[in-house]
């Protein structure tokens, strides 16, 4: 069987039972060879996290310090990535910006997964709630995510927290549908049927039998949400509804500099490179996880 679920780029074609058995021999090297995408993606993400945490110690200055007299300087030994329209140091802004972008990406992935999973579990398992919940999810999904996020931003003021909420809300229905679909299929599996027949309570079945089986595809889905959240943050900034300009994020550095990209391309390109590499890393990790968690898809043909 294989249920391809809406809006799920990973589209885990099969349901893994459990994590693949770990083999001990030559563990590290073997892992690297078998899962190069996980290793490459993981390493890049690790690097970005390192940069985000250590930003103050990586030869940076205050990323919000203005100096209009020194605006739009080209990259030089003094300003490694140049300066922006208000004379702020782009190198420092990009490094500090990694904090916002990573926080947005990870928080959205986590929040959307947890909320979506709970909704999906209830909807898939408690039949009478299904119709209602799914109609509400349909309704939310029916509003294009980016437009919903823009509307939510118009509703509130620009802050990192509001950006996270605005991006999370449209993502929840996707996760909920994924989990519900999994639950619907799992519910018919003999081991769940057996548990139900033996009179186990809902939450017990949900947590003991169904949750573990949804974790793998959910993890994969979460990586894509994380990647798309970082891109969405950039798009919101592009439209002028993103993180406030006093907090640097890759999205708003690019958005601020984009009108100048023909004359001062570095303002856009440095954050763009960081964003692309990070999103790439998260996607690679997601692809790798999918292959690794899905024993049937991996290493065939």
């Amino acid at each position: 069987m294989s249920a391809v679920l809406p809006g799920d780029p990973a589209a885990a074609p099969t349901l893994p039972d459990v994590l693949p058995p770990v083999r001990r021999r030559g563990a590290v090297m073997r892992f690297v060879v078998r899962h190069p995408t996980i290793v490459a993606g993981g390493a890049l993400i690790g690097l970005m996290i390192f940069i985000a945490i250590c930003a103050p110690y990586l030869h940076t200055v205050d990323p919000t310090a203005l100096a209009p007299a020194r605006r739009t300087r080209a990259p030089s030994p003094q300003y490694w990535f140049g300066t922006d329209m208000l004379g702020r140091d782009i190198y420092s802004r990009v490094l500090y910006g990694s904090r916002v972008s990573l926080i947005v990406g990870f928080s959205v992935a986590l929040l959307a997964s947890v909320i979506g999973m709970l909704i999906g579990l209830v909807s898939g398992f408690v039949r009478w709630t299904d119709a209602l919940i799914m109609r509400i999810m349909d309704g939310l999904m029916a509003i294009p995510g980016i437009l919903l996020a823009i509307a939510l931003m118009a509703l509130t003021r620009g802050s990192v927290q509001n950006v996270i909420i605005a991006i999370t809300v449209p993502q929840v229905p996707q996760v909920a549908r994924l989990v519900r679909g999994l639950v619907l299929s799992l519910r018919e599996q003999p081991f769940v049927e057996a548990a139900t027949a033996s009179g186990s309570r809902f939450w017990k079945i949900a947590f003991r039998h169904i949750l573990p089986n949804t974790l793998a595809p959910l993890t994969v889905q979460a990586t894509y949400i994380c990647a798309s959240a970082m891109i969405t943050e950039a798009i919101l900034s592009f439209i002028g509804a993103g993180t406030p300009p006093i907090i640097p994020s890759w999205g708003n550095i690019m958005a601020e500099g984009r009108a100048l990209w023909q004359v001062k391309p570095y303002i856009v390109f440095f954050p763009a490179i960081f964003l692309s590499v990070t999103v790439l890393a998260v996607n690679l990790l997601g692809d790798g996880l999918r292959d690794a968690l899905d024993p049937r898809a991996a290493g065939r043909l």
């Binding site: 589209a11 999904m141 029916a142 437009l147 798009i235 999103v279 996607n283």
Partner: protein, 313 residues
């Protein structure tokens, strides 16, 4: 089955009602006043208050909603606060650019992405597979507007092959129409190609391991025949599903693409309307989007039952 379809069609009504109410209340509690924008920067607070009242924005929430809903039920989406044009007219003006952009993007993406995905699945684990997938992932990773600027710089400013902006209606001839859409479609296609290539690869991998494919191979059928006649045909349903559902993703990308290439489409209309608080326009467009989406969703749910007979409704 027929009863199920009928029930689902009826169920779209509460979904639409939910969307309408949700959007309406969202707009109601949102700060921002169109009257302040209309009046301009020099206007006095008293003038703004008068315009606000004249637009009927000071009426209670329920009165406004009931009034709006009643008119929608009679097929009247209302009149834009700013342009004084009927919302249905404004939407009609902008359907062609958005629809053209989406259809062209879809054709382009499918033509590129499906063979890419098949190739990657066939050569799974090889360098070709990795190259194809990396390409797809990169399409996913670079912000749309950066791709748009770079493409416009190369093909419009340096090579002068294509225009940098605008839209020409197909009624002006097919080539002028296509010329203005090529760059936006390629720009927007980036995400979509990535999405379709990945799902194609994944489903092809799945299908290729099925018994009937093994049988086909055992029968001695050629590689192409196995790949495209048997495997791809069986992988088509989920691929089609994702293509259909990716429309939501396209709308998101279209907002940015339409801005970068100055295309007068629905995405841009909605963003402008949100930033200006042109309530009737926002409500009209969102209602349209949700109507389209609910229908697509229904079709997807129906394909589930074809696809996996164990899921019953």
């Amino acid at each position: 089955m027929l009863a199920y379809i009928l029930r689902r069609v009826l169920q779209t009504i509460p979904v639409m009602a939910f969307v309408a109410l949700f959007v309406f209340s969202l707009l109601y509690i949102a700060p921002g006043d169109p009257a302040a924008i209309i009046a301009g920067d020099q206007a006095t607070p008293a003038d703004i208050a008068r315009i606000h009242a004249q637009l009927g924005l000071d009426r209670p929430f329920l009165v406004r909603f009931a009034d709006w809903a009643w008119r929608v039920l009679h097929g009247d989406l209302g009149v834009s606060i700013f342009t004084n044009l009927p919302v249905s007219h404004m939407i009609a003006q902008r359907i062609e650019p958005t629809l053209s952009l989406m259809i062209l993007t879809m054709i382009l993406s499918i033509v590129i992405a499906v063979p890419m995905g098949v190739l990657a699945a066939w050569k799974q684990g090889t360098l070709i597979d990795r190259a194809v997938m990396l390409n797809a992932v990169i399409g996913f990773s670079v912000p749309v507007f950066v791709i748009g600027y770079v493409l416009a710089y190369i093909f419009a400013l340096q090579l002068e092959w294509l225009p940098v902006q605008g839209f020409t209606s197909i009624s002006q001839g097919f080539w002028p129409f296509l010329r203005t859409l090529i760059l936006p479609a390629v720009t927007l296609g980036g995400i979509y190609i990535a999405l379709i290539a990945r799902i194609t690869r994944a489903t092809m991998l799945e299908v290729l391991s099925q018994d009937y494919v093994r049988t086909a191979r055992a029968k001695g059928l050629g590689q192409n025949s196995v790949l495209f006649l048997h495997a791809l045909k069986n992988a088509a349903v989920p691929i089609a599903t994702v293509i259909g559902l990716g429309v939501a993703l396209l709308i998101g990308g279209a907002v940015v693409t339409e801005t970068v290439f100055a295309i007068p489409g629905l995405g841009r209309l909605t963003v402008d309307a949100i930033l200006r608080r042109d309530y009737p326009v926002i409500q009209g467009v969102v209602l349209l989007f949700s109507f389209a989406f609910v229908l697509v969703n229904l079709l997807v749910d129906l394909t589930y039952t074809f696809f996996d007979p164990r899921i019953r409704y």
